[in-house]
Symmetry: C2
Subunit: 336 residues, 2 copies
């Protein structure tokens, strides 16, 4: 007999929430009842789940004692407001908004640091890291036996869907305006995103670093248990609807054994290795895929301890919803 679990999805009508519901349907996770919750503006909407139509109900009045697991995909403020109530009800919490400090809700990618769960006690609280951190950590974890990374330089070219549906419709609208020679009106983004690259995805702090750039650096160190890793992160908004493209350059503490690196990437679960000559793209390869695609793997031109590679990944899939669902599977299998 298989136990089934009652689950709540908060922020079910957002793009990540919708991907979550779709993955819960596709994957073997034994879902008993599924509750879709959102703020008052989305209550009354509905989503399909296993042949039924589920209505979105108000988060405010929900009894978290009636479910064993809750996914929070509604933004940091919502997670912060409800986290205590969820835990007090004995319900496990998986946050996709990085609302809580690591001490309260550690960042976990199952393939990278699943062992962290063994040190926790119920009620469980986990954070699913940002999409680029998940992809980069997966790759670096696969290479742990091959190289110890000292310094990591990442330029993350992020899809507009990282800003939700509004990002997608803004790129479509701006593109159509430009192609039809109509005046351009930026709304969600602060300037033209169509046929352009924006050098930041949020407002930098006084030191010039953006919130996501800081978050990424912190997440990578935590996931890889590498507090002394130095991270340089630049987050760029690209005129791409779906899928992140990451240009990654590493400095290891010794010369890189390239054939061993390629073999390790080829063998790693969750990674699709693309041979030199060919290369993966976000749109052509990663979209809709659970795997993170890695290509353009090459050493340094001048520096033997350098490793360069290119990662394409579906930011809504492994980057967000899939990793959260995998965390739920891990909790359910071993801890709940």
């Amino acid at each position: 007999m298989t136990r089934s679990f009652d689950i709540a999805v908060i922020g079910a009508t957002g793009s990540v929430g919708e991907s979550l519901v779709q993955l819960l349907e596709e994957r073997i996770l034994p879902v008993g009842s599924l509750h879709l919750l959102a703020g008052s503006e989305s209550v009354g909407q509905s989503l399909a789940f296993r042949g039924k139509t589920l209505r979105v109900r108000p988060l405010e009045s929900f009894d978290f004692g009636s479910v064993q697991l809750a996914f929070f995909a509604a933004g940091a403020a919502v997670t912060r407001e409800y986290a205590e109530r969820v835990s007090a009800a004995g319900c496990a919490l998986i946050d996709l908004a990085a609302a809580l400090p690591s001490s309260l809700a550690p960042r976990v990618v199952p393939e990278v640091n699943a062992q962290v769960l063994a040190g926790l006690a119920a009620p469980y609280r986990l954070t699913s890291p940002s999409a680029p951190a998940v992809a980069v950590a997966l790759v670096l974890a696969a290479l742990r036996p091959q190289l110890q990374v000292k310094h990591l330089t990442l330029t993350a070219c992020m899809a507009v869907s990282s800003r939700g549906r509004e990002g997608v419709s803004e790129l479509a609208r701006q593109t159509a305006e430009l192609l039809n020679a109509r005046p351009l009106e930026p709304r969600l983004f602060d300037r033209q995103i169509a046929f352009n690259l924006l050098a930041q995805v949020d407002t930098p702090d006084a030191t010039g670093h953006g919130a996501l750039e800081r978050r990424l650096a912190g997440e990578l160190k935590e996931l890889l248990e590498a507090p002394s890793l130095a991270v340089s992160a630049t987050c760029v908004q690209a005129p791409v609807f779906f899928g992140d493209s990451l240009s990654l350059s590493l400095l290891a503490n010794a010369a890189v054994d390239l054939p061993a690196v390629c073999a390790a990437l080829q063998a790693a679960p969750g990674i699709e290795y693309v041979e030199p000559g060919d290369y993966p793209t976000a749109v052509g390869d990663a979209l809709g895929q659970d795997e993170v695609y890695v290509g353009r793997v090459r050493g340094g031109l001048d520096e033997p301890a350098e490793l360069n590679l290119w990662i394409a990944s579906d930011n809504a899939r492994k980057g967000a919803a899939l990793n959260a669902v995998q965390l739920a599977e891990l909790l359910i299998k071993h801890y709940l």
Copy 2:
């Protein structure tokens, strides 16, 4: 009395050739007669210059003894075929295709290494470096008094116009096909470039590095007279019509003095420094501008010797035609 110079432009009908002719018209360079030359397929076309219509004439039968200076913007094979004839006729040559080795035609950016010309003798031969190399070298040259760079990591997101007019029309066509839900037919690029990023701009060699990536690394070392500089370069094809966006991360051999770096960039000729908070983009700032735009200047999150910045520059302007014209001005002023 001002001497005037008779000039030939080879590859005048390409997009760089056309920018060259436009700049020759705009700038004070004392042009006597201007000869537009091209292969047989373009002969008979014409361009406007100072109120006159100039016909494109055949390169094959041109007498280089009739001009003092020739710009080669027609591809490496053409430069290689004609270089000897040009020099034998006593004509100075400025190559935009990196056809000749540095020993025969050194790479020069006037603001960076103009002193190289003093070591040459007539007939002069110079190479105008690749667009990203010009932009990065300008920035690093401005910072020479502030920091000695050991390792440089560059992700260069390049406009489709770096592939000439065909690149521009391919992006426009693919975008329209996708927006109108018609089947996509990649032609010039090997796959979908619209709403996508391609991880390479040419075919990599057996070590995985692309020709432009190798060229960039070599050009930066030569321009900055820094043979021990380690360069990691990733050239990416972006769905942007005009203007390159460069994400640059440097490791210096000592802690970076950020206020001094910002002050140096603010004071440097040819550079437009953008304050933190704001940031430059290729389309919004750099297009049509002679200056290279630099923003998002920030130190390392973890590494005091790290410096990160973002460069937006018009790849057809300072990156190609303008630098070549400035080389001509330098030759004319001091050497011809």
